[in-house]
Subunit: 309 residues, 2 copies
């Protein structure tokens, strides 16, 4: 990858993603989804747009794609409902917006941005988040817009396993996210998710928790995570990576390595992150067999990956 000025990276979830479980058609569809999102972000950055515009543009493409667990195609809770979370953070002034437990908003990341820009608050959850969406003029989409047969089947599978074990192993942490550095040197991070299949209603994962699944500060790094949310909250993964850079003077690659390959495995925290700092290429790392991911630097070639190396 070329040394770069603007750059972006995105992920579409990590987990037990193995080549032998994938059909060529399905793989091509995932690659096309990642490429389309990368292109949406690239366009903003190449036009001298801001990092926050770029991450929102990329995440919206993934939210609209039913293959990814965010927006359309979000997974089901144990009650058969959909509850989505999203967050955005801007590195220049550490402004942030987050929503948790929403079920009618087509693009949760847009609502998170609205919280950041048009409310005095940082985080809204549940009915209050939905009410804020209506105040801000977001259309209420019917449940049928989000629901897919594939996710319905995943819930049935998870619930069958639950009859044996409370701790069912979906081993696929669907979340989408993007980090970017714009031509002004500013960073941003955005994350959006449907959470975990068969989760307890009201459960909030790491995505909308600033410092856990989403974080950006020009002093440190912009990070978006995907994985076993509870472990990522306890390890304050996104902030820790930026803090290791900022306070520990550790290079970004090493900071990511420590959190993803050392700290998280200690508490069985499966997943991965994408991260970007004030200079250099983005870092993408995961401790699961695979992670849907893509990255691009100004003047470089797009890098798209699904499996481990």
């Amino acid at each position: 990858m070329a040394d770069c000025d603007w750059a972006l990276a995105l992920h579409g979830g990590a987990g037990t993603i193995l080549k032998e479980m994938m059909t060529p058609e399905r793989e091509a569809a995932y690659r096309a989804g990642l490429e389309a999102a990368l292109e949406a972000g690239r366009k903003v950055l190449a036009d001298n747009g801001t990092a926050e515009d770029a991450v929102v543009a990329a995440v919206m493409v993934l939210e609209d794609d039913p293959l990814f667990n965010a927006g359309r195609g979000a997974v089901f809770t144990s009650a058969g409902t959909i509850e989505m979370d999203a967050a955005i953070m801007r590195g220049s002034d550490r402004a942030a917006g987050a929503v948790a437990g929403i079920h009618t908003v087509r693009n949760p990341i847009r609502l998170a941005r609205q919280v950041m820009e048009h409310s005095p608050h940082v985080m809204f959850c549940g009915a209050g988040a939905e009410a804020f969406a209506r105040e801000q003029g977001f259309e209420a989409m019917p449940a049928s817009y989000f629901e897919t047969e594939h996710r319905r089947n995943q819930l049935r599978e998870a619930q069958k396993l639950n009859q044996i074990s409370l701790d069912h192993n979906d081993h696929k942490y669907g979340t989408v996210g993007c980090v970017a550095r714009d031509c002004h040197g500013n960073l941003a991070a955005a994350t959006s998710t449907g959470g975990m299949t068969n989760k307890h209603p009201g459960r909030v994962g790491d995505s909308p928790v600033i410092g856990a699944g989403t974080y950006a500060s020009n002093d440190g790094a912009a990070v978006s995570a995907t994985g076993h949310g509870e472990a990522f909250i306890r390890e304050t993964v996104a902030r820790d990576i930026a803090a290791l850079v900022q306070y520990g003077c550790v290079p970004l690659e090493e900071a990511v390595r420590r959190k993803v390959l050392e700290d998280l495995p200690r508490i069985s925290g499966d997943g991965g992150v994408i991260a970007i700092a004030g200079a250099g290429a983005p870092v993408m790392l995961f401790n699961t067999p695979g992670m849907y991911r893509a990255a691009l630097c100004e003047g470089g070639e797009a890098e798209i990956g699904i499996y481990g190396d």
Copy 2:
């Protein structure tokens, strides 16, 4: 204060707390509340109990006391409802539990602990958090249990000011919290709040956000914050203090000073924190005129304060 083995500190909110606005009776009542909470925590620690038992015991006393903005006596949202948040974190393994937007649970900190110990999740919000409370056998208290005339008046005042300015200035950030180190050297932090008077329903502050208002890791520090929640989330205050100790090798007192007196004021983040590390006395610091606070070290004298020095 004596050099100490076990130790604890607690706060009951920070803000424009001035001696000239206080009657002797009211001041005595606040002091009595702080003393009672300190005694509840002390008893646990002196009996060789755990840090998490101590912080829960202390916070429950403050939740039950209508003078403090947590549990009984919580402030009202703009809709005239009550929405309480709480979180607990254990330093030995960084286990954590948090609830946001609950309205029927007498002691939100007990529910947060139940999330930590009896669910696979870390955070629950809104209706899902209430449903979890019922599953766990928590009694649903009527709204009248929490509501006080004093808080009703505060809402009326805030709403009057809102007619002029969206950004009303309550200047009093009620939250309660406790940090402790037990005789085994383990740390814990707990925070509980009714949030901000006249807040938008669904708004989540820093208290239940792990790394913002509440954090504990034996590697760094246990921290509980009180203040303008949005700023505390953006500055990941509690984790940052612990990260400065852990990654930056900064003494606890200096780490607290940087966040509370340098980073937070830069974004108008009014408030304060209590913090404790693996050795030494607790640190209590605020950038507001006052903070209700108390601390005690093994073999030392209780320190109780309300105003700045």
